[in-house]
């Protein structure tokens, strides 16, 4: 059930963010379903392909999409020992292909985007693994099960851990989804050349796949947060996802991007939060005594 909802929702999530952003600046904004209209329009179109490019450019968007779908399966359907490792590595495979596809066009803009994308997202995996690894030690489940319903614990320190984990994963959404303050999804111009500029040469079906895959990826990380807060009820999870969309829209409306050279501070904050989670787990293992 959750799996199907996750597969349908991504564009709704993006549409919601865009609508809220429009309301923030006093516009009426496009319909929440606009991303769906765009998607169906795009898959009806033909394609224009760069003549520098090779087969890589044509298969990459599809592989990226397939990887994200498998990641969705891992998060929502099956849980086994070490599933979060496969989750993270499957997403990395998708990233691998999107990066080489960007380099395939020989465009310096896309090269710039690819280079920045790999540089900034390389810090996400360590933070993610440290958090889930620590939580695995806490719960005894070496899978995503370790994070489910963490916030509902009676222990104050566990609640604190849950809040920190939510915070860190929210930071990851902003990096992986290329949102403000890391990147600005509105434009592909020089200042914010990360994700949008990587797909400058894609069109038609491929572009539709790319939009869907990146929206799905953001939704997956949001679903992780929902799982920490309230995994029992579907409506509660959806409410959490709604709130995350609201939060992202708010940040994008009132904040600005960080300077590129300062993004490293953002990523290290994320790793620091992950290490605090680890320290707190250690504290609990000690029986809560200092």
């Amino acid at each position: 059930m959750m799996f199907l909802i996750v597969l349908i929702l991504p564009f709704f999530f993006i549409g919601l963010i865009n609508k809220m952003k429009a309301i923030y600046v006093g516009k009426q904004g496009a319909s929440i379903f606009q991303p769906y209209y765009d998607f169906f329009k795009l898959i009806k179109k033909g394609e224009v392909i760069s003549d520098t490019s090779s087969f890589v450019f044509q298969i990459a968007p599809s592989i990226n999409l397939a990887c994200t779908i498998i990641a969705a399966v891992l998060l929502t359907l099956f849980h086994f020992e070490g599933d979060f490792i496969l989750f993270s590595y499957v997403l990395a495979l998708g990233k691998f292909f999107s990066v080489i596809a960007a380099m395939d066009t020989g465009s310096s803009f896309e090269g710039m985007g690819a280079s920045r994308e790999v540089s900034y997202t390389s810090f996400v995996e360590p933070a993610f693994f440290i958090i889930i690894g620590s939580l695995a030690a806490l719960s005894g489940h070496y899978s995503f099960l370790s994070i489910f319903g963490l916030l509902q614990s009676k222990n104050e320190i566990v609640m604190l851990i849950a809040i920190l984990a939510v915070f860190a994963i929210f930071m990851m959404i902003l990096i992986e989804g290329s949102r403000v303050p890391i990147d600005d999804p509105k434009t592909h111009l020089e200042l914010t050349m990360i994700h949008e500029v990587m797909v400058l040469d894609n069109s038609g079906v491929d572009l539709a796949f790319i939009h869907y895959a990146s929206a799905l990826k953001m939704l997956l990380f949001s679903a992780l947060i929902a799982a920490i807060i309230c995994p029992q009820y579907l409506w509660a999870s959806l409410l959490v996802i709604l709130f995350i969309a609201f939060l992202i829209a708010t940040i994008e409306s009132i904040g600005a991007r960080i300077r590129l050279t300062h993004i490293i501070e953002y990523t290290f904050t994320m790793i620091a939060v992950a290490l605090i989670v680890m320290a707190l787990v250690l504290l609990i293992m000690h029986g809560g005594r200092f």
Partner: protein, 650 residues
């Protein structure tokens, strides 16, 4: 055992025959001898791996060394499988690789003789269980690989790196000899079997350093990135894919006799493993010579292997056997996997070199169009080596991660902290591998040609050269898709250390996911083809944001691709920049140079060499060049030796 003996004879005789044959036939003979010998070896090796048997023999070497015992157990069989298999593929590749050299009139007889000798010596290293014969085979291996490496010895750089390699290897042998002497003093026996449970921590540490130099662990790795770029491709593939694993073999063999390792030494091994993985891949990101990049990536993979080993040792030390079996299994699988994909990568790199004649990736680009087959193989290899599913690299890293996770059931605070940190570091290493290999693949093969050298590449390498490459790629994929079958190869070597159930069930789950990943990719590609059916797909030039005159020079280069990432990690290497700034209004000539130094080489190896040179310079007078003096040295030595003998008797 007779099969093994005859295989060794086939290698040796085939090698000797190389010296007398016609040039054209030499490579064919090499392929035949290696095929026959590998086929002869296959039977006993598979038998031992399937039944955990131990085959023992004293071979004909009994005449030379008393009690020279050769033992084929599951650990040796595992390594022989890799040596003979990769060696055979190497011979097929070398036939076409050496063809241009033969045309130029280069004599390759001795080279091919040494090739067989090299393989025999590696097999003997894994077989011999007698101190003296082990050291002889070990030396033979180092020396033959040195001679193979300096194939293009007209060039100064090649000779220099060769000497560097030879000296480093002998420092390693020195440690080994000391370790073996200590063991001999303790047990009074030359046979390995009598060491069982008697190897102390100190001896293990000494042996670890000695074998570690061969394996290329940080900080003793400095020979590796020098040796691989200058060696001919099939040799660097064998050295990186197989030879450095004999160092790991030595460590595993010694560990086998140590019994239960202590906690301290296990943590030391873990730290060394993680350091090697981290620094290996960091310097790989920074390289622009693609063979050097692959050499550094070997250091990373050795680091991962040692990390798996350390997880196993920690499991033994803490009595956590699930963790232990996962660690050792990860270690063994990564040995197998690395030998597959690293050989694959070196072969494709060699193909690029034979077509484009440069090892500098900044001078290449756009090679995917003329060299489609090589490009696809390089892509598959890059995915495997970055440990991404559905290829084999992922399987071994996954096992090591699971080993980390299972340590939590020991409820030890210190272990928990270290393991979580190790998980973080290994994840970061994975992310860096992704950067290194997306960089290499896209700069060498994608975009448009950056220089004339790349433009002039017109066709792919002959299909004989592609054959071994695709065999390896197929192996990498099959192990990734069906890991639960292939762990059986490593099962008995692992069970020698700890006797618990293998994680077959879990690997079957991974296998299902890897296959479904494959299916979903195929489905999405099919969907795309369906959607694009009967629609216009145009080819236009790359969108340049309105700029009219794009040039190949404005493409992103390897240096610019990795620049932002390396900028974050500046404390971990030394960067030398030469940049002449433009100060006047009108454009002038300007230049930019950047070099990246290895931290360990700069701060550890270099000072040692300087001190060493200073000390040795005080002894120059010994080597005066006067024959009389040398005669006196001989006489003095003889007198001393006789005096000692007599003195000892009384």
């Amino acid at each position: 055992m007779t099969l093994i003996t005859s295989a060794i004879w086939v290698y040796t005789i085939g090698g000797i025959l190389q010296l007398f044959l016609k040039e054209e036939n030499k490579c064919n003979l090499l392929i035949i001898t290696n095929f026959v010998a590998a086929a002869l070896l296959a039977m006993p090796v598979m038998f031992v791996l399937a039944n955990n048997a131990v085959v023992e023999s004293s071979l004909w070497m009994g005449m030379l060394v008393k009690n020279a015992i050769f033992r084929l157990d599951s650990l040796s069989a595992f390594f022989i499988l890799i040596i003979a298999g990769i060696g055979f593929l190497g011979t097929i590749y070398s036939k076409s690789y050496l063809a241009p050299y033969i045309e130029k009139g280069k004599k390759i007889g001795s080279h091919l003789f040494l090739f067989n000798l090299f393989i025999v010596s590696m097999i003997l290293v894994t077989l011999s269980q007698n101190i003296i014969f082990f050291l002889i085979s070990w030396e033979l291996m180092s020396f033959s690989s040195f001679l193979l490496m300096i194939f293009e010895n007209e060039e100064k750089e090649v000779r220099q790196s060769g000497i560097n390699y030879l000296i480093t290897m002998h420092v390693g042998v020195m440690f080994l000899t000391v370790g073996f002497i200590l063991m001999y003093l303790k047990t009074g026996s030359l046979d390995f079997a009598s060491f069982n449970g008697k190897i102390s921590e100190l001896v293990f540490a000494i042996m670890f350093i000695g074998f570690g130099i061969k394996a290329g662990i940080v900080p003793l790795h400095s020979w590796l990135p020098k040796a691989h770029p200058v060696a001919p491709t099939h040799i660097s593939a064998l050295m990186s894919g197989v030879m450095i694993k004999t160092g790991i073999y030595g460590i595993l063999r010694m560990l086998f006799y140590t019994g239960r390792p202590t906690i301290t030494i296990s943590y030391c091994v873990l730290i060394i493993g993680l350091l090697s993985a981290f620094f290996g891949i960091l310097y790989a990101v920074a390289q622009r010579n693609y063979k050097k990049m692959l050499a550094y990536s070997s250091i990373e993979n050795i680091g991962i292997i040692i990390t798996g080993l350390a997880v196993g040792m920690l499991g033994l030390a803490y009595g956590n056997y699930v963790m232990c079996v996962l660690g050792f299994l990860g270690c063994f699988m990564h040995i197998l996997n690395h030998s597959i994909f690293k050989t694959l990568m070196f072969f494709t790199a060699g193909s690029v070199y034979t077509q484009a004649h440069t090892k500098d990736m900044e001078k290449l680009g756009g090679l995917v169009h003329p060299m489609k087959g090589t490009a696809l193989a390089f892509l598959l290899g890059s995915i495997a080596i970055s440990a991404l599913p559905p290829f084999n690299g992922f399987i071994s890293e996954f096992l090591i991660y699971l080993g980390f996770l299972n340590s939590f059931s020991s409820h030890n605070y210190f272990l928990f902290t270290v393991m979580v940190a190790a998980i973080g570091i290994l994840a970061f290493v994975g992310a860096m591998a992704l950067i290194a290999f997306t960089n290499a693949f896209s700069i060498i093969f994608l975009g448009s040609p950056r220089t004339e050298k790349a433009e002039h590449v017109e066709n792919d390498v002959p299909s004989v050269m592609l054959l071994p490459i695709y065999v390896l790629a197929f192996c990498a994929l099959v192990i990734g898709l069906f890991p639960q079958m292939f762990v059986n190869i490593a099962a008995f070597p692992v069970l020698n250390y700890v006797n618990v159930i293998m994680p077959h069930k879990l690997l079957a789950v991974i296998s299902t996911f890897n296959i479904s990943l494959f299916v979903v990719i195929a489905a999405v590609l099919g969907l795309r083809a369906l959607l694009l059916k009967n629609k216009k797909v145009e080819k236009r030039e790359t969108w340049g944001c309105g700029y009219q005159f794009p040039s190949a020079k404005i493409q992103y280069s390897a240096n610019s691709f990795t620049r932002p990432f390396l900028g974050f990690l500046t404390p971990f290497f030394i960067r030398e920049l030469h940049f002449t700034q433009i100060k006047e209004l009108f454009p002038q000539k300007t230049s930019f140079k950047s070099r990246i130094f290895d931290l360990f080489e700069y701060y550890i190896v270099k000072p040692i060499v300087i001190v060493d040179e200073f000390i040795i310079s005080k002894f120059y007078w010994i080597q005066s060049g006067h024959t009389q003096k040398y005669l006196i040295y001989g006489v003095v030595f003889l007198v001393l030796a006789i005096a000692l003998l007599i003195g000892g008797k009384i």
